[in-house]
């Protein structure tokens, strides 16, 4: 049995990982922590940052710096969660891909390798955003989906 956990960095996706570990412990299953890096999100932040700082000519540098920092942060978070899982005796791995979250998630979750997908109910913007991605994921994924809050 393999369990896919969608980790977007939010508090709820980290709680999702804990629930995945609980199932994995009982079933001796493997947990895959999965994150998608979306360049467009970084580009948006870089644009706003350069407007605020009044240095539009620096936008490329902002974007690259943010992108690299984002990658490091994702890796650090997944490593932390992986260590929590391993401390509980759960076999874990992580996978980071680039692209649009919805498409990459559906592609991975429907690959036929997973018996359960676990995700947080809310996204990175806190409790204000619940909706389209959640509906797309629940509606578009073949295995059962556990939604955690």
């Amino acid at each position: 049995m393999r369990i896919l956990v969608l980790v977007d960095g939010s508090k709820w996706s980290q709680k999702a990982a804990l629930h995945a570990f609980a199932v994995a412990k009982g079933k001796k299953a493997k947990v895959v922590l999965f994150s998608v890096l979306d360049r467009r999100e970084v580009r948006t932040v870089a644009f706003h940052a350069s407007v605020i700082s009044g240095s539009l000519d620096e936008i490329r540098n902002f974007e690259e710096t943010l992108w690299e920092q984002n990658k490091r942060n994702v890796k650090e978070l997944l490593t932390t969660l992986l260590e929590v899982g391993q401390r509980e005796g759960v076999s874990c791995a992580f996978k980071i891909v680039e692209g649009q979250a919805r498409d990459r998630i559906l592609e991975e979750a429907n690959s036929g390798r997973y018996s359960l997908v676990v995700m947080g109910a809310y996204g990175k913007s806190g409790k204000t955003r619940i909706g389209s991605l959640l509906e797309d994921v629940i509606g578009g994924i073949r295995p059962p989906v556990m939604v955690v809050r």
Binding site: L37, N73, V74, T80, L134, P144, V147, V148, R149
Partner: protein, 181 residues
């Protein structure tokens, strides 16, 4: 951008100093606290069914069997409001016929579910109830650790809405983890 509550929490603790508690309270929905960083214990599970749910796939029982000692309450819910509407519009006889047909469908689905639960050696109890579906699930789930529901619970899914609106409302409203199959 990714918001890494765990990382921020660790780094922030040193920087924020005495303001740490205050900031943690104000921004609690972004931070996973140390108390929350626990592997959850699951003792009670609610599995709701109705005429639209269909049979529960084996992979769901496989997941539920990961919780040793948990008790699963399986409830087939018949729409109370719909029974009333049929009674008011078509008469009591029609309403009674609808109730009987629903109960028969419920008993059959529970029988099939029971076979799978027994196969996985899961502890369970079963019942058929008349209620408002969303209200019932939202209230009952308060006393459970996990809720399990079909994507089609409450209504047929369509090409544009692959999850029933009732399930979407449940996922949004219920404070417990929900397994949607």
């Amino acid at each position: 951008m990714v918001n890494f509550s765990g990382i921020i929490l660790r780094k922030f603790k040193n920087i924020a100093g005495s303001r740490y508690e205050e900031i943690m309270k104000a921004y609690q929905e972004f931070f996973l606290t140390e108390e929350e960083l626990q592997i959850p214990e699951v003792k009670s599970i609610l599995l709701v069914l109705d005429r639209f749910s269909g049979e529960v796939p084996e992979e769901v029982f496989e997941v539920l069997s990961a919780y040793p000692g948990a008790r699963i309450e399986v409830v087939y819910v018949i729409d109370e409001g719909l029974c009333s509407i049929i009674g008011e519009t078509l008469g009591e006889e029609e309403a009674e016929a609808f109730r009987k047909s629903e109960e028969s469908l419920g008993r059959e689905l529970l029988r099939v579910t029971e076979r799978s639960l027994s196969k996985f050696d899961l502890s369970f109890s079963m019942e058929i109830t008349f209620a408002d579906k969303v209200e019932f699930v939202e209230n009952d789930a308060k006393n459970r650790d996990i809720l399990v529901v079909s994507r089609h619970f409450g209504s047929e899914s369509t090409k544009t809405h692959r999850i029933s609106p009732i399930v979407f409302r449940i996922v949004q409203g219920v404070k417990k983890p929900v397994i949607v199959y």
